[in-house]
Amino acid sequence: MHTKQRSTRFKWRSLVAMAATATLLLTGCSVGAATTAVAKHDLVIARAMDLTTLDPDRGYCDTCQIVFTALYDRLVIVSPEDSKTLQPGLASTFTANADNTQFTFGLDPAATFSDASPVEPKDVKWSLERLANIKGSASYLLAGMSSIDTPDAKTVVVNFAAPNSAFLAIVAASYLGIVNSDVASEHGASAAADASTADTAEDWFLSNSAGSGPYILDSYTANSAVKLTANPNYWRTKPTFDTVTLKEVTDSSSQLQQLQQGDVDIAMQISPDALDQLKNTPTVTTAAVDSFNYTYIALMPGAEGGAPLADVRVREAIKDAIDYDNIVKTLVAGYGKLQGSPIPNGFEGSEKVALPSYDVTKAKALLAEAGYPDGFTISSTYPKIVAYGVDLDLQMQAIQQNLASVGITLELTPVDFSQWADVIGGKGTPITAVYFAPDHTDSSQYVQYFGLIPNGGYVANFASLAGKTVNQAEVDGLTTALAQTGAERTASYQALAQLMADDVNILPIVNPQLIMAHASDITGVTYSPCCNVDLGALGLTK
């Protein structure tokens, strides 16, 4: 018995010793892990990713813009210095005819895909037709395209039934990357008219790419990471980094911590509040850059319960009752701007629209004139999300307080995005809050979505008590603008911006700046309205 007790005690002591050793080992190794040798030619980016596919013709998201730009070169590109200037991409020349119905691209003879095969007109024709016929989310960009001709070995001609001066800007959008048609077709891709049902290549694109961009797809794990490797056959200046990994890090504070610890090189969604914390980190560079993204509230009289909003004076009163400056100050720590119309600051047409101002006295007077001296009660359903650093829930709570000061009781119902879509697709909601980010650099997209035009966005469905509403001046104005270029077009978009502002259906609230935070030795971290961040342009200080 005695021997057995000693034996048991020995086992217990051994176990304790082993556990202690393991603990020490693990603690030690954790430090070791954190200081794992960093290969500076392997760039790691922390980002809350919204990727749902890597098929360039089916994808439609902010992260898609980054990844597609890196994998698939476009015919033309947006100048990094000036978003209104287009530069040669795969096409060394690009022209439009006088009435903006025909666009001719001369392909650069040096352009090659990642398998070293040349980029040919048939690839351009196939890629644009696939995007249009697959009827994915970005297909709308090619609405109105009537035909594509390939008259010789280096020329592509794209024809439209009606003038479309926006097309050159659209061609620079990340969703219009050119795909190696031979390779993609071998794996089930189709550009035929029935591509929406016949195309079976989406699964292949989850682990392969077939483009001519600076990077090629190495691997993708949904909700975890996308890894790109440098394209060895890239036909322009080779990228600096051997690999780029976009790593899923959902929240801003985790991105901040990982950047400070050196685990990642770029954090893409740092909260403005965190900027102060980074000022004391010498290895990190931060910058607040202007963006073209914004949050807005939509006022929709035609939605159930929206009758008080039918009077434009009520909508004006709501516009005047909102303390925009305070919202910018509290929600994005002052890193944001006000915006006058649905066409955002910096886009053609935004120049002359007055910015909103906070005037409670005027708001009360307008409400009294409209027959609501004591205000009214109205509901608001909106998606409970954080868009570009703006928490829509907090934004609506601030607006709720503002409206209370003029007697309007705003009942808030934050919901999931899919629930919000169900509401918008049904009876609507009198007031909602959402966000908007551009797909390309032309102002037409704002009129097409926010203007009161046929086939416009959801707001037109509820813009008056009659429900679906058309503002003929906006319809005509858009038609005119799409047939123009230069100063004439700018004047048309300025008029359209004012018309949409006068509708008072869309009230932009915050145009937030983007907080770019990265390791100090990384260069080229800039924001582009078409493509977000151009990974091919990133480099290292010498």
Partner: protein, 337 residues
């Protein structure tokens, strides 16, 4: 015994069918629209794009047809294609399940062993400082929400002290091992890559501890109470009268007999840990079933929601079955009942 086990196994398919049916119906009855996540907000008003998306994903069919199609595919082992990842739900789940299982099993070990150890300390030092400290520690584990402790521990041990790694299963610049089991700790050892193994283990410490801490509280209190009861039992007095040492009596008689109820708790705790893993995986960027479930719910990804429900239900049922079997082995009266 065999008959008992077979009876329990025989009803599993029916239970799973019930789970799948309820999940299918509830997800479809929600006042929400999955099309928003498929086409984006901007195209909700575009009839051509919406129609193409509905046709592609079978959402243009009536609910009953959708259900029959789903069951038809399910019986062939096809859980459908995820709206969000565009991969088959089966492959999504198979790739993520090991991550969740690795986290949950380690959390279960921490919770069980830690709980038993603290329970023994508390019982053997009743009403002394060690007992109070142990109970306070257990109380914290049971009371604090994992999303809060997760963020605080990350801030302290990763961001401030730098002694433990941050979110993720591996460090950002480290490649995962060749996939054999999907458990990074196991696969790295199979590959003979010790630094990778240590990195994987170090990344497990925080999330597994936070997930298992609540279980520590539950088990320690249970063990403490059971041991205190057993310590006053007649047979304990008898073995002590025979001259055995206190330590030996505690380990070989009191503790052993106090552990029977722990078996039941551990079985059910496995299900609870899987539930808790949803939050922990979100905080620690752990690409497991939990984070997959959260993403699926947000986007109303029907196939993924149903797949996660089916797998979660199956794991829970199997854990319950295992508990019943173990309990039946430990306590023969269960079989008679």
């Amino acid at each position: 015994m065999l008959r008992f086990i077979l009876k329990r196994i025989a009803i599993l398919p029916l239970l799973l069918l019930g789970i799948v049916t309820i999940a299918f119906v509830i997800s479809r009855l929600l006042p929400a629209n999955p099309i928003a996540s498929l086409v984006g907000e901007r195209n909700l008003n575009n009839p051509e794009i919406v129609a193409a998306a509905k046709a592609r994903w079978g959402l243009d069919q009536d609910l009953f047809t959708q259900y029959l199609n789903y069951l038809g595919h399910l019986f062939q082992g096809d859980l459908g294609t995820s709206f969000s990842t565009k991969s088959s739900v089966t492959s999504d789940l198979l790739s993520r399940l090991p991550a969740t299982m690795e986290l949950t099993i380690v959390a279960l070990l921490i919770g069980t062993l830690g709980g038993i150890a603290l329970g023994v300390i508390s019982a053997s030092r009743k009403d002394r400082f060690a007992d109070h400290l142990s109970r306070f520690f257990s109380l914290l584990g049971s009371s604090l929400p994992v999303f809060w402790t997760g963020l605080v521990f990350l801030f302290v041990f990763y961001a401030q002290l730098g002694v433990l790694p941050g979110p993720g299963r591996l460090s950002a610049r480290i490649e995962p091992p060749a996939n054999v089991t999907g458990f990074y700790t196991v696969d790295s050892l199979l590959a003979g890559n010790i630094p990778l193994f240590l990195d994987a283990v170090s990344h497990l410490i925080l999330p597994a501890f936070i997930l298992g801490w609540g279980l520590v509280g539950t088990i320690s209190r249970l063990v403490r109470a059971s041991m205190l009861d057993e310590m006053h039992a007649d047979y304990v007095r008898t073995v002590r009268a025979k001259g055995l040492s206190d330590g030996f009596v505690m380990r070989h008689h009191v503790l052993r007999n106090s552990l029977t109820p722990v078996v039941t708790i551990v079985g059910f705790a496995f299900g609870a840990l899987l539930t808790g893993a949803v939050l922990v995986e979100q905080i620690f960027s752990w690409n497991g079933i939990g984070s997959y479930a959260v993403g699926a719910t947000r986007t109303l990804d029907y196939p993924a929601i149903n797949g996660v429900t089916l797998v979660g239900g199956a794991i829970f049922l199997l854990a319950s079955l295992a508990t019943d079997i173990v309990y039946a082995v430990v306590d023969p009266r269960v079989r008679l009942a």
